[in-house]
């Protein structure tokens, strides 16, 4: 079903394989409603103009019920809504059941951002998918209810903490950010909006992301590159990304916040300074240098800063490679 209203004021552009059928059903209901609405308003206006109270006008007897009429206007709408229900649910089943060969992306929603995790371990906060290929989104939430909504695809599904939900799509058009210097790039579609549609607290309306659709080859290149954070970045930049992505930022302030909101000590402006630590029950003083940081990541409980409790995740080489620790060290050095 193709939509007649698709390019009118009612819809964002259609960019997925199901968008056409959703819009088609929308059109069908729209025209049906329009007919009924015009009929109702026409009858109302006609009766008002024809029978309004004026000198000399009197009401005339008419039947106060008419079974054939009443049954007719009950049965016909019943049949019509039956048709709407049928197309609504067949269309819906198509949207729920992802094909088995679908490319799977993990979507993690949390207050107030999106994290997309790809099969090769790449992570990004903007969504990149290949064109013309079924993509399944496995949705998770880290805190409260969120809802994964891409209007141009006509898909939406809540992210429920404590369980997995899913939805899927076949994107039909690629996106390119138009480059004003490039004559040939003018036709590229803008990246699409991804919204959080379920109210999730203070910055609900800021929980948006962009969706990029690539040619298959281009997508493979992107996802490979995205998996390798160290390449093409300075160590400090890569370290900053890793610091956030590996969860360091949840326990360590980089703004000098000493409060209980952060379990660990703040890390900015610390490089090269001395600190008192407890190591196996004895107190000693260490300098915050490369070896101390590396030890604190690999064996967090070896030397605990005074006043703090042990409890940090032990980062094995599987969780964090040596190269990545080097990048994090570079980042910590840069924090003033």
């Amino acid at each position: 079903m193709q939509s007649i209203l698709a390019d009118t004021m009612f819809f964002p552009p259609e960019r997925s394989s199901v968008a056409g059928s959703v819009d088609g059903l929308f059109d069908f209901i729209y025209y049906l409603s329009a007919i009924f609405f015009v009929g109702i308003v026409f009858a109302m206006v006609y009766f008002v103009l024809r029978y309004y109270q004026r000198p000399g006008h009197k009401e005339e007897p008419s039947p106060s019920h008419h079974e054939v009429l009443e049954i007719t206007w009950s049965v016909i709408p019943s049949l019509l809504v039956g048709v709407i229900f049928f197309y609504g649910f067949t269309g819906y089943l198509n949207m729920r059941e992802a094909p088995e060969n679908a490319y799977e992306i993990n979507v993690r929603a949390s207050k107030w951002n999106w994290l997309f995790v790809y099969p090769n371990g790449a992570e990004s906060d903007e969504l990149h998918i290949p064109v013309d290929r079924p993509v399944k989104f496995l949705l998770q939430s880290g805190d409260v209810l969120h809802s994964f909504y891409i209007p141009a695809f006509r898909i939406k599904m809540d992210c429920v903490p404590g369980r997995y939900t899913s939805t899927w799509v076949i994107a039909t058009d690629t996106t390119e950010a138009p480059d004003p210097n490039d004559e040939n790039a003018k036709d590229g579609h803008l990246p699409m909006n991804l919204f959080c549609a379920e109210y999730c607290g203070e910055k609900h309306s800021a929980m948006r992301a962009k969706v990029f659709v690539h040619e298959p080859g281009e997508f493979d290149v992107w996802v490979e590159k995205a998996a390798n954070i160290l390449e093409g970045r300075s160590p400090a930049e890569a370290g900053e990304i890793l610091f956030k992505r590996k969860g360091c930022a949840q326990c360590h302030s980089i703004e000098g916040d000493m409060s209980a909101k952060y379990a660990g000590p703040p890390l900015n402006g610390q490089w090269g300074t001395e600190r008192k630590v407890t190591a196996r029950g004895t107190t000693e003083t260490v300098v915050m240098d490369e070896n101390y940081v590396r030890e604190s990541i690999r064996q967090p409980n070896a030397k605990i800063v005074e006043g703090r409790k042990p409890g940090m995740t032990v980062f094995t080489p599987q969780l964090l490679k040596d190269d990545e620790i080097t990048a994090i060290i570079a980042y910590l050095k840069s924090l003033k």
């Binding site: 009612f10 819809f11 964002p12 199901v18 059928s21 059903l25 929308f26 209901i29 009924f36 609405f37 308003v41 009858a43 109302m44 009766f47 008002v48 029978y51 309004y52 109270q53 006008h57 009197k58 009401e59 007897p61 039947p63 106060s64 019920h65 009429l69 009443e70 206007w73 009950s74 709408p77 019943s78 809504v81 709407i84 229900f85 609504g88 649910f89 269309g91 089943l93 409260v144 209810l145 909504y149 209007p151 006509r154 939406k156 599904m157 809540d158 429920v160 903490p161 404590g162 939900t165 919204f195 549609a197 379920e198 109210y199 999730c200 607290g201 203070e202 609900h204 309306s205 800021a206």
Partner: protein, 567 residues
């Protein structure tokens, strides 16, 4: 409870002055605060709910003005995202719990229903007073929430957000819990009143349709409200004790909360709209001077809506992660409830056929209702159909849809009903020209506010957003402009009524020529409603009434033959 037989002479009231009525028979704060008179309780409800309405309306105007600019019109220090979230939450919570649920049943119903059955009060006057006092206490808890840390959960209190937010969820839920009892008391009272206090001659199918509607509403109030009470108690226990029913980190299920919540709150939609439909049946008939068309279908459709309304709550949860099977079943059931509503609209239209249509203010509101409710109802089809709902769910399309139903439907019918019964309630006539003028302003403002929201919603604008993409700005601007017009219209509509209290012409007993019993007593009614027990006739037979220019209203036509279908 007292039975009234024809020729029973009733006690006139607290003082013996024959010109005394329920407003003047006694005075002082206590004579109102502890009255057992259903009419005074109705009037106090009216004052209470209008105060709530303007508070809720003020929140709405503030947030609409904020949305004039994509990043918010007001500076961050005035309205930041937190303030915005509180504005829309309190708008929804105040409008739903304090205003719209009690509006027609508790305010108008309280006043009108006993008069319609020719009784001197409801079945349980003390319980009736208690329901109002509970409403006041509930309202106080809402004010506590408002003036302490506010509330930012949305009126739905969805978990787990409502468990962890720092705002005053406890005060608000206690408020809603208490208001639930208020609603149950009202419903219980009406059921018993209709069942036991109908006068001889008023069989079920001789009742005015407003009574059918209130009766159907009362069934929902009694059966659904306890579920909300239990849900809110569980939510409080979850917050205070961490019992883990809804909290996923303790193995609870947030989707279960949604099931519980909507099991009440969807039927609650019918608590809001059914009484409004009852008003419509009265208005269309009286102002067309025709018996209501298809009485039996309308009466049964009220009951059908009340019962089917219990089976459709899952359509609020099509994208919540409930099973696809459940979604399909709920979608099917949802469409079934649209049919009785459609039937009513056709019946109202048919009532106008060959009538003598008096375009008085209440009728203008009634016509406005049909226009707006038709849009509200038809756009429900887009949301009941699964494939289209996936896209439209939680967008402004939904916001527009339920405002067309709730405000375009219930509020418009409520105001129409208020204008209709105003002369009876206060014994004064309002200014027709201004009444109609503000009806038109409300109609224009309403459509300008909410129609653009259908468009931006189908274009993907999510609801409950403090900031938005610039592509939606034009629709937001139109909507805000409409909201201002609508606000002025509502203030004007109420001002016309208030003005009439001081300057209005004295109202006759029956200014509109209606045939229901409340129009047989004087306006305003005496303390005990009727000096003589009224004679029950057909509620929609106008042939017995004729206009008397000297009275300025309708009187019984001495030459009229008894109606043929009157038993």
């Amino acid at each position: 409870m007292s039975t009234i037989t024809p020729d029973t002479k009733l006690d006139i009231g607290h003082n013996d002055d024959p010109s005394s009525n329920y407003l003047t028979c006694s005075s002082g704060f206590l004579s109102w605060a502890f009255t057992l008179d259903h009419k005074r309780i109705g009037v106090m409800y009216l004052v209470g709910i209008f105060t709530s309405f303007f508070l809720g309306g003020l929140f709405a105007l503030l947030l609409r003005i904020h949305l004039l600019m994509p990043n918010g019109l007001f500076p961050e220090t005035w309205v930041n995202m937190n303030t915005y979230n509180q504005l829309f939450t309190l708008h929804g919570a105040v409008m739903t719990f304090l205003f719209i649920i009690p509006s027609v049943p508790a305010a108008l119903g309280n006043f009108v229903l006993p008069l319609m059955v020719g009784a001197k009060d409801v079945a349980f006057p003390r319980m009736n007073l208690a329901s109002f006092h509970l409403w006041v206490i509930g309202a106080i808890f809402f004010l506590i929430a408002l003036f302490t840390t506010g509330l930012d959960t949305g009126w739905t209190f969805y978990t787990p957000y409502s468990i962890e937010t720092q705002t005053n969820v406890i005060a608000a839920t206690i408020g809603a819990f208490i208001l639930g009892f208020s609603s149950i008391f009202t419903g219980l009272n009406f059921i018993v009143t209709v069942n036991t206090m109908r006068p001889p001659g008023m069989s079920w199918f001789k009742m005015p349709l407003f009574m059918w509607a209130i009766y159907a509403t009362a069934i929902i109030q009694i059966l659904a409200t306890p579920v909300l009470g239990i849900t809110l108690l569980l939510l409080m226990a979850e917050r205070l004790l961490g019992i883990g029913v809804f909290d996923p980190s303790m193995g609870g299920d947030p989707v279960l909360y949604q099931h519980f919540f909507w099991f009440y709150s969807h039927p609650a939609v019918y608590i809001m709209i059914l009484p409004a439909m009852g008003i419509m049946s009265e208005l269309m008939s009286v102002y067309s001077r025709k018996p209501i068309f298809g009485y039996t279908f309308i009466a049964y459709s009220s009951i059908a809506i009340a019962l089917l309304g219990f089976l459709v709550w899952g359509h609020h949860m099509f994208v919540s992660g409930q099973s696809p099977m459940a979604a399909v079943i709920f979608s099917g059931l949802t469409f079934s409830v649209s049919i009785p509503s459609a039937i009513k609209v056709f019946n109202w239209l048919a009532t106008m056929y060959k009538g003598n249509i008096n375009l008085a203010t209440p009728m203008c509101y009634a016509l406005s209702f049909i226009f707006l409710f038709a849009i509200g109802g038809l756009t429900g089809l887009f949301l009941g159909a699964l494939a289209t709902d996936i896209h439209l769910h939680d967008t402004y399309f939904v916001v527009a849809h339920f405002h067309y139903v709730m405000m375009g439907g219930t509020v418009i019918a409520f105001v129409g009903g208020l204008y209709h019964w105003w002369p009876k309630m206060f014994g004064v006539m309002y200014n027709e020209a201004w009444g109609r003028f503000f009806c038109l302003v409300v109609f224009i403002g309403f459509n300008l506010t909410f129609f653009p929201q259908f468009i931006m919603g189908s274009r993907g604008m999510p609801r409950r957003y403090a900031t938005y993409d610039p592509e939606y700005q034009i629709f937001h601007q139109l909507s805000t402009l409409g909201a201002i017009v609508l606000g002025l219209g509502m203030v004007g509509a109420v001002a016309v009524l208030v003005w009439s209290l001081f300057n209005g012409r004295k109202a006759p007993a029956n200014p509109w020529g209606a045939a229901t019993l409340e129009w047989t007593c004087t306006s305003p009614p005496p303390f005990y409603n009727f000096e003589h027990a009224p004679h029950v006739g057909s509620p929609y037979d106008y042939s017995q009434l004729k206009y008397d220019p000297q009275v300025g209203g309708y009187v019984k036509d001495p030459n009229a033959k008894p109606a043929s279908d009157h038993h």
